[in-house]
Every structure is written in C-alpha cells, then in structure tokens.
Symmetry: C2
Amino acid sequence: MRVSDKHQKIIQAAITVFARKGFFNARISDIAKEAQVADGTIYLYFNNKFDILISLFEDEIGKLILQIKQLLEKEEDPRRMLELFAIHHLQLLKNKRELAEVLQMELRQSNKFMKEYRNTKFIEYVDIISAIIRKGQAQGLFRKEVLPGVAKRAFFGALDEMSRLWVLSPEPGYTIEEAASQVSDLFLSGMLSESGRSEAAQPTALSA
Amino acid sequence: MRVSDKHQKIIQAAITVFARKGFFNARISDIAKEAQVADGTIYLYFNNKFDILISLFEDEIGKLILQIKQLLEKEEDPRRMLELFAIHHLQLLKNKRELAEVLQMELRQSNKFMKEYRNTKFIEYVDIISAIIRKGQAQGLFRKEVLPGVAKRAFFGALDEMSRLWVLSPEPGYTIEEAASQVSDLFLSGMLSESGRSEAAQPTALSA
DNA sequence: AACAGATATGAATGCTCATTCATTTTTGGC
DNA sequence: GCCAAAAATGAATGAGCATTCATATCTGTT
C-alpha cells in the first residue's frame, strides 16, 4: 500500500469518526479501528490529533475549491453563478454527508482552540463568492452599494445555516435544491414585494 | 448569599472561561476559581459540566428573547423590525462579548454531543424572525414566495456569520452597525440593480 | 534466502481532569 | 451563645485516553 493511500485512509476514517462523535469526543483508537490500522500507525502519518483535523480541512476544502471553480468556469452570468455555488455547497450534504457534518461543526471552532492555525483554504473558498459579486457589479447587474466583503459572509452564513437544518434534523421539509434556490433568490431579489419596494418615504435607515 | 446568586455567579464565570478556552478545554477548577468558589461547590448547583453549559444557554438566550421582544413591541414596520433584530443581535458582541463568543462557538455543536438536549430557547429566538416575515407578507410588503421557515434560517445564518468576523478578528474593517444595516438591506432589497432586475428573459431558474 | 531498511503494531506509560465525600464553616432560630 | 441543619470546602480517587517505543512484520535488493 502506497504511503498516500494510508494517509487518505486515515483521513477518511477521521471524517467518519469526527462526524459521529465530534473532535473532542473522538478517540484516536476509534479512528485507528475505523481505518483498520494500529493506534501507533496514525502517528507515523500525523503529528497529533489536531494535525489530523487540520490535514482533513486542507485536503477536503482544497478538493471543494477545485470542483466549484471548475463548475463556475463554464458559466458567465453572475446570477446563475451564485445559484450554482449555493447548489454545489448544499449538495455536499447529499454526496459527502459526513464531511459536511465535520466542516459544519468543527471548522468554526478550529480557530478558537488552535490559535496559530489560520484556515487559508476556507478563506479561499468563501472568496469565490466575493469574486462573483464583484463580477456582477462590474457588469452592472448588482448594486454598487453592496460590499462584497460583507455580502460574501452573509451569503455563506445563510447557506451554512441551511446546512445545519439537514445535519441536525433528517427531514426538514425542504429539498436541498429548493433551499439553494430560495437562498440565492433571497439574496438576488430580496424580500420586498413591488409595493414594499416602491413605497414612498423610506421609513427605515436601510438605504444609508 | 442567596442560592440564586451563587448559581448566577457560576454561570457568569463559566461564560468567561468557556469564551476563553472553549467548553472542552475548560476545566471545572477554572470555573471554580473564576467564580471564587471551591470545585465541589459547583456540584451543589449543577449536575455536571454539560449541565452548566445547558443552563447557561437557557438562562441567557431566555434573557435575549425578552429583550428583543420588548424592543420589537414598539415597532410596526416589518422592514424596520428586521433591521432592529439584526442590530440587536450584533450588538451582543459589544455589550456581552464573552456570551456572544460562547453562543457562537458552543451552541452549534451542543446538539451534536448532547444528543438528548433540544435547544428550544434557541428555536424560540430564531422564530422571532419568521414571525416578522409573516407579518410583512400579511401586509403585502414582502413577497409571498419567500418561505418564512427558510428565510429565517438564512437571515439568522447571515447575521451569525457576520458575528464570527468580530469574534475571530478584532478589527474587520466594518462597524457593527454598518454590518447590521448591510445584512438587513441585502435581505430586503437583494443584490440586483434595476438593470439586473428588469432584464428581460430570466436566464436563471431562480424564479421557479 | 538472507539482510537491511522501512512500516506497522499495540501494550505500557503517564498525565489530565471530572466527580465525590469526609470534614469544616456558616446560618439562623431559640 | 448553643445547636442542628445547610452550605461550602478541597484533597483524594480513579477513569479515560493521547502518545511512545520496544518489538515484529514486511519489502525488495543482492
């Protein structure tokens, strides 16, 4: 078995175990058993437990970035690109549910307890959204007042919170495609109806 | 010292310690020291470490719900209500930063490792958003196609992801008020410019 | 088929806490 | 000020588990 095979095998096992029990409740021996490997073997490929989690992030988010970039290459319309991003992000739940669960639960707090680790891959992933927004603004399709750096986070946060629906409850009453469509529609068109939009004196400070 | 005082004192200490180290890295003795209490005393008020976290959620989210409901009572316009919710939610970062950090980091995964615990207070909190959306739809201000159950999650997720900006990086380049305004504006008006909105044949499947 | 280096094994080690409970201190009624 | 009940203390216990390392197995080269 080539070295990289065992590395991969352990990462995949870790995804399964972390998804099931969470990082802190997972034991190294759980991962070893899942990977059909001795406990000590894991330390030939990783420095420690944290290192497994970090490698997992880097490897798997890296793959996601490649996939989504490839998908977006073929598309020109920024509106459609945003929807494609949403669909692709949420489909992770179908295609790689355990990975989705781990990213959902552990990515967040990784910054907290692993002070020195800056998750550059994750930033790269979210920056795909702001790139789309800037493209839309350059084409005059999107409003100039929208701050891409803020909107990217809001859009990602909305998607990610939708993910949680499926991660935590098996049957939330919406399909993944419906949710993706709703979220990108919300961000593109907003919630206002024609009447809400055209109503004379803005009673809010929102347009500031 | 009344019983409830010590209960509160321990909860406040736990917020500080969990904010600093995260739930799993926090030691009971850390909380005890912070609360100026013996380790054993904590077990007179809580069953175990999880119980502290759960009580913390219940108590503090309960307070938030009361505050925000009181704030919204005085407001009639659903557009403004949404913005108020956003401002109030993000202001938690200013007023109770440690609590914001704990909710941000620990609330999420609580469902994961505490199987039996359903965070009903949290659900109640998020449902304030869907109530606002329904109100806006009833008044004809918001589009009927928007699903309140989906939109509430998207809106909350967007806000919460914005929170993370401040929790993780001290100086993200936006003020809390700007961010709140941007997020509610995004959800209300969307990203499309007039030209993007009026452009003839919808090239996307979003309006489905 | 013998050997060396590379890989893999898993039992043993040692540390870190959550939790307990025998003991001490505080409280308030008389 | 005395006493019993209530609260509080913190040292001791023991379970859990990441990591190590002496030993074993495998691989491929001559």
